[in-house]
């Protein structure tokens, strides 16, 4: 069976996107870098939905609709987070999560 016609290969690629996102979330030390990693995780989830939709699901429209919803949520999330980042930058002059620590003490 060809790899492009196999559920497992798509699931492994989606898993790779998820792991990449988690690694980036740990590694990046700016809010924008963490936002980028979050996009990787969301796309891994979308790819998973599409793979199950193509190979197993009874109604092929459901997975596509859910993937569309994931894209909409991702767009809304990116807009809100970027505006929050701008506000934080205006106040703290930094987008390093380690320096935004007013509530720490």
């Amino acid at each position: 069976m060809m790899p492009s016609d196999n559920l497992t290969s798509y699931l492994v690629i989606a898993l790779f996107l998820l792991v990449l996102g988690i690694y980036g979330m740990v590694r990046h030390r700016t809010f924008i870098g963490m936002l980028i990693s979050g996009e990787f995780i969301l796309n891994g989830a979308a790819l998973n939905f599409m793979a199950f939709n193509r190979f197993l699901a009874p109604n092929p429209a459901v997975g596509q609709i859910f993937t569309l919803f994931i894209m909409g949520i991702a767009a809304a999330e990116a807009a809100v987070i970027v505006s929050l980042i701008l506000m934080v930058y205006n106040r703290y002059r930094s987008i390093d999560p380690a320096e935004v620590d007013d509530l720490k003490n």
Binding site: M2, Y10, V26, P58, A75, A79, V82
Partner: protein, 177 residues
């Protein structure tokens, strides 16, 4: 015929390579803008995989929304926000921390991929193979009407909220007036 089949397989591996290269660029970029470019490269690969999964509509939407909207928003955030500083300096420093992060992610990958390879997926007994946009639209407007309206409201609220939040940030700026 078999030649076309192998060409399609080559295209599949090309898209997987795009995803991997984009992810690598996004994780190891020196500047944040390069990370955004890596993200968009990776999303392009995911769009290609959507094409292979039988949905041209979703592939186009992925290019339009994820690359065209989200990456542009993030790029604006990079440009408007902080001054371009070396991203590499601000990462988690120390060889030990980095090795720990790689170890945790690699072990998670191995564990979950072992679970995927072992799982026995069963198909639904009755499956309709209609991947057309017409069928998708009918489902969206009849069966999934309420979630569709809800996601529209969520998008509207998010956009208004983003405008208000950034407006408040500008008004409360300390050394402005």
């Amino acid at each position: 015929m078999i030649l076309y089949r192998y060409m399609a397989e080559a295209g599949f591996f090309l898209f997987v390579l795009l995803i991997a290269c984009g992810g690598f660029v996004a994780m190891r970029a020196r500047y944040l803008m390069n990370a955004v470019l890596g993200l968009s490269l990776s999303l392009l690969g995911v769009a290609g995989l959507f094409f292979y999964l039988g949905s041209q509509f979703l592939a186009l939407m992925q290019i339009l929304i994820c690359i065209g909207a989200i990456c542009i928003i993030i790029a604006f955030g990079v440009m408007v926000g902080p001054k371009p500083k070396l991203e590499a300096e601000r990462r988690v420093t120390g060889r030990r921390n980095r090795a720990l992060a790689v170890f945790a992610c690699a072990s998670g990958f191995c564990l979950l991929s072992a679970a995927i390879l072992r799982a026995n997926w069963t198909k639904a007994p009755v499956r309709s193979g209609d991947f057309s946009v017409k069928y998708l639209g009918e489902n969206l407007l009849y069966q999934f009407c309420l979630p569709f309206e809800l996601i529209s409201v969520v998008l509207l609220v998010a956009i208004i909220g983003a405008l208000i939040i950034s407006g408040i940030g500008r008004r409360k700026q300390p050394n402005d007036a």
